[in-house]
Amino acid sequence: MEIGVLALQGAFIEHEQKLSELGIKSFEIRQYKDLEKPLSGLIIPGGESTVQGKLLKELNLFEPIKEKIIKGMPVFGTCAGLLLLAKQIENDTRTHLSTMDIKAVRNAYGRQLGSFNTVEEFKGIGKIPMTFIRAPYIEEVFNDTEVLAKVNGKIVAAKQKNQLVTAFHPELTEDLSVHKYFINMINKNETF
């Protein structure tokens, strides 16, 4: 198994470190030719969604990645990654890959002074630490999207078939369980 980590901008190295702690190989995707290598799954890291969304298009990654996700490639988006996958963003006219049936709210907790940590229940895992940095949350899920975690009544993690998103950053805590959860999704998804 080898997982691609979108490395256009943001905290991609932290994801690579988590994967390496789990003994999983990963490689960085910075431009079109990096997609020539077969990948078992893709992680879209935290960072700025506006920057990553723009670079996806300008570096000709947008269409091929979108196509792979639609075909069933497992994908895990954290924070900005969640926004890149959302079909709707309530307070932004820009949407990006638009593959997941969720409606997100950008910067939903305000500016940096609104950033926080907490410990909450994640469905199928239990209580885990969650770090929110100028984070979004999910206002609504549609169709077969499953809610995996809530903080103060707001949805902060969800899954729809091959797509997993968290508004928080599992790559910034010691906890490996959400990454393991994603690896399990890949293991179950032999078809892609």
């Binding site: 943001g10 506006t50 900005a80 002074l113 940095i133 100028r134």
Partner: protein, 291 residues
């Protein structure tokens, strides 16, 4: 600021990595920067090149102007306060700035003490010329470090010097034996714990960006290859012939800083770069402010 808040503040800098933070003076420029792919903007009344040209005392920007920029964009907004001017920093915190740059670009308000940044909830970024300076700022509570470079010159030589020196010193600490670290702490004038961290991890405990004199995609790529985790571009963008195009090219250069072929394409046809001044022609060395 408790430990948790410091972690969150370091974490925000981690999200900025691999990105370009651009100086802007108006909401219009902020929008251009955001559209070009800036991961954050630095709101200030005058960009360093103009501060240098105008002379006189340079202070924190008008909060109204900063708020105008906060309302114009969705990305993080930073602003500068003078070295040691904790009241300016309190004001910036009150308007919920995302990051405060305690900056040598402005006239220092205190020639001895930096701000006790641990007393604040918002994060600070500080400039450093070498490892000792970086660790002293981190000890005071800085959650992010940048090279000082020489702002407003369009000359990258000082940023290169600072980044090289920092990396050399990190390598030296990394290969020192543990019993030598006590003396290193003394020489660097920093707490032992921070020296031990650098020794073990072979990096600073916070994110380290390049700043000062970056004017072209090649400059940005150079700084990234020298170990910067992202780049501040001040005067280089809005003092150039075609800010939109240059800004977008620098953003892409930071993402693909090792791909010379792509860098060649990005460097084409950018119009006039900022004129700049060489370091020998400068009368005021801003990097010498605050140590």
């Amino acid at each position: 600021m408790d430990n948790k808040r410091f972690e969150l503040n370091k974490n925000l800098a981690q999200m900025l990595k691999g990105g370009v933070i651009m100086d802007v003076t108006t909401p219009e420029q902020a929008k251009i920067a955001e559209a070009a792919g800036a991961c954050a903007v630095m709101a200030l009344e005058r960009i360093p090149a103009d501060i240098r040209a105008a002379g006189g005392v340079s202070r924190m920007s008008d909060p109204k102007m900063i708020k105008g920029i906060q309302n114009a964009v969705s990305i993080p907004v930073m602003a500068k306060c003078r070295i040691g001017h904790f009241a300016e920093a309190q004001i910036l915190q009150a308007i919920e700035i995302d990051y405060i740059d305690e900056s040598e670009v402005l006239s220092p308000a205190d020639d001895k003490y930096h701000i006790d940044k641990t007393a604040f909830d918002v994060p600070f970024v500080c400039g450093a010329k070498d490892l000792g300076e970086a660790l002293r700022r981190i000890n005071e509570g800085a959650a992010m470090i940048r090279t000082k470079g020489e702002p407003g010159t369009g000359d990258v030589v000082q940023a290169v010097r600072h980044m090289r020196l920092m990396q050399q010193e990190i390598r030296r600490l990394g290969s020192a034996s543990e019993d030598e670290l006590y003396d290193e702490a003394k020489l660097l004038q920093v707490p032992y714990d921070l020296v031990l961290y650098v020794h073990k991890n072979k990096k600073l405990p916070v994110v380290n960006f390049a700043a000062g004199g970056v004017a072209t995609p090649a400059d940005a790529a150079l700084m990234m290859q020298l170990g910067a985790e992202g780049v501040f571009v001040g005067s280089g963008i809005f003092k150039s012939g075609n800010p939109e195009k240059r800004a977008a090219a620098i953003v892409k250069a930071v993402t693909n800083y090792k791909d010379a072929k792509l860098l060649a394409e990005l460097s084409e046809d950018l119009g006039e770069a900022m004129v700049g001044i060489n370091e020998q022609e400068i009368e005021l060395l801003m990097a010498e402010r605050g140590k």
